[in-house]
Amino acid sequence: MSKSIMEWVDARLPITELVKSQTTEYPTPRNLNYWWNFGSLALFILIVMILTGLFLAMHYKPDANQAFDVVEHIMRDVNYGWLLRYLHANGATFFFMAIYIHILRGMYYGSYRAPREILWWFGIIIFFLMMATAFMGYVLPWGQMSYWGAAVITNLMSAIPVVGGDLVVWIWGGFAVGDPTLNRFFALHFLLPFVIFAVVFIHMWALHAVHSNNPDGIDPDFKKDGIPFHPYYVIKDLYGVGVFLLVYCAFVFFQPNFFLEPDNYIPANPMQTPAHIVPEWYFLPFYAILRSIDFLGSYSKLAGVIAMVLAIAILFVLPFLDRSPVRSFRYRPLSRQIFWIFVIDCFILGWVGYNPADATRFNGALPLIAVGRTCTAIYFGYFVLLWFITAFDIEKPKPLPKSL
């Protein structure tokens, strides 16, 4: 009976065929390590964010006079409103953690190399969309950090020559960040996650066309070294989700404000900027790059913005910068070293971004702006150096295994 129903459906919508080709018979390398868990984990978090966000939107009001109060109404009056909000606010943090690990994994194992360029590009587009979504979401509670974060980031647009000033006014819908800004940011914050979801679909479509890379970075013989996605990676990913939920829920239930700034519990006040404003931690390295360009006089502002955008956009050309015959850094000693320098450099940039612009260390002997400039140079230096050592065969890769 159920068999004939399935046949009837399959003749019209080939579900069985899809499930077979994409899961139970979709071949995956058998040697993927736990760093490969973070892609599906990011998808899981995206779903959590969309669900909690949807239910928060049912109580939220994008009105400059009510937004702050209504967030407290959610926290206090709505049944489990505190849970929805803390899941959502901390979810953003863990979404970025998963995505950063996912990106770095791709960089380390050469997952951006041919034939995975388009897969990689759509990943970067997702990252850009996530940053836009997170930024606009952070504005919605309408606290001091929300307000001044929005003011500072939208003001970046004013660096664009000729049209910059008008552009900022257009984005604000007024002469400062205000009610119209909040309204449009809410609408976009609601829309963009679904756009992300659609791009994730393309990302996965591209993935299933070229198949997963693997830690050895060689093209596997799936007849010999392939295992089906289901049940092997389904259960491995689910186990990863379990471990993730333990960490995530520990923060949500016991330290929900750890990643939030106290200033955002003060209602937005356009007349007074907090003493020290910082973006959310996931923007800090890019914020540090923005601030580190301060030596070009009147061009500094524009150059800073360009450097910040370039810091991410440069990932688009990474597939062409890397000329090594070998994908995985496992077999590329020099690339591996500069990779770890790059990772540490990103953390230092984040730390610089967290500190005030004029902060110093060692009794003023070490201004952090100098650290920021050096680290910015190292950040871009990674890409130049990677190109240099691979284009001129300076790196001698270790021998690759014949199979996985």
Partner: protein, 190 residues
């Protein structure tokens, strides 16, 4: 690095396990699935509950009114759960008219004594049982009671339907006397 421990497969599960091991595996997978499904159901609960009336709405589930200042024949309209409620301190004539109505042939029979806790205080949910309009104050309709202007329903001094299209008497909301003069409409929710 050899392939899967046993025979090579093209994207297929490795060799099936021995039967008893298979059973144990089945049980483990079944138990894990059950625990996981319970978790998903549990996680759905906060989302479902977030639609129920929130604390600030529930705090308006009851309305407290001091009726000591109401003079005989005076009527006030108070909001209760977002709906209008008439509170009338009836005159002796209005009480007498209501008692007299007890013996009339009524579309929706009810005794006046069942509709009031104290004879002089009448509490009515002021929504016409026809199509939900708010009737006009006391004395506007026939029988000395309330007229619903929308479709001409007449309610008497006990709020009972006497004439017109409405099928039922005006509803008497749940209320209690907290003290002699303080009326609490509604039940404490949650």
């Amino acid at each position: 690095m050899s392939a899967i421990a046993h025979a090579p497969h093209h994207a297929h599960a490795p060799e099936p396990a021995a039967p008893e091991e298979e059973n144990r595996r089945d049980f483990l997978i079944l138990a894990t699935s059950a625990v996981g499904a319970a978790g998903v159901a549990g996680a759905a609960w906060p989302f479902i509950r977030s639609w129920s009336p929130s604390a600030d709405v529930l705090s308006q589930a009851t309305t407290e009114i001091d009726v000591s200042t109401l003079a005989k024949g005076q009527m006030i309209t108070v909001p209760w759960q977002g709906k209008p409620v008439f509170i009338l301190r009836r005159t002796d004539e209005q009480i007498a008219a209501a008692k007299q109505g007890d013996s009339e042939k009524l579309p929706d029979p009810a005794k006046d004594s069942e509709r009031t806790q104290k004879p002089d205080i009448l509490v009515l949910l002021a929504l016409c049982t026809h199509l939900g309009c708010v009737p006009q104050p006391i004395g506007t309709g026939n029988f000395g009671g309330f007229l619903c202007p929308c479709h001409g329903s007449h309610y008497d001094t006990s709020g009972r339907i006497r004439q017109g299209p409405a099928p039922k008497n005006l509803e008497v909301p749940f209320y209690t006397f907290k003290s002699d003069n303080v009326l609490v409409i509604g039940k404490v929710a949650g």
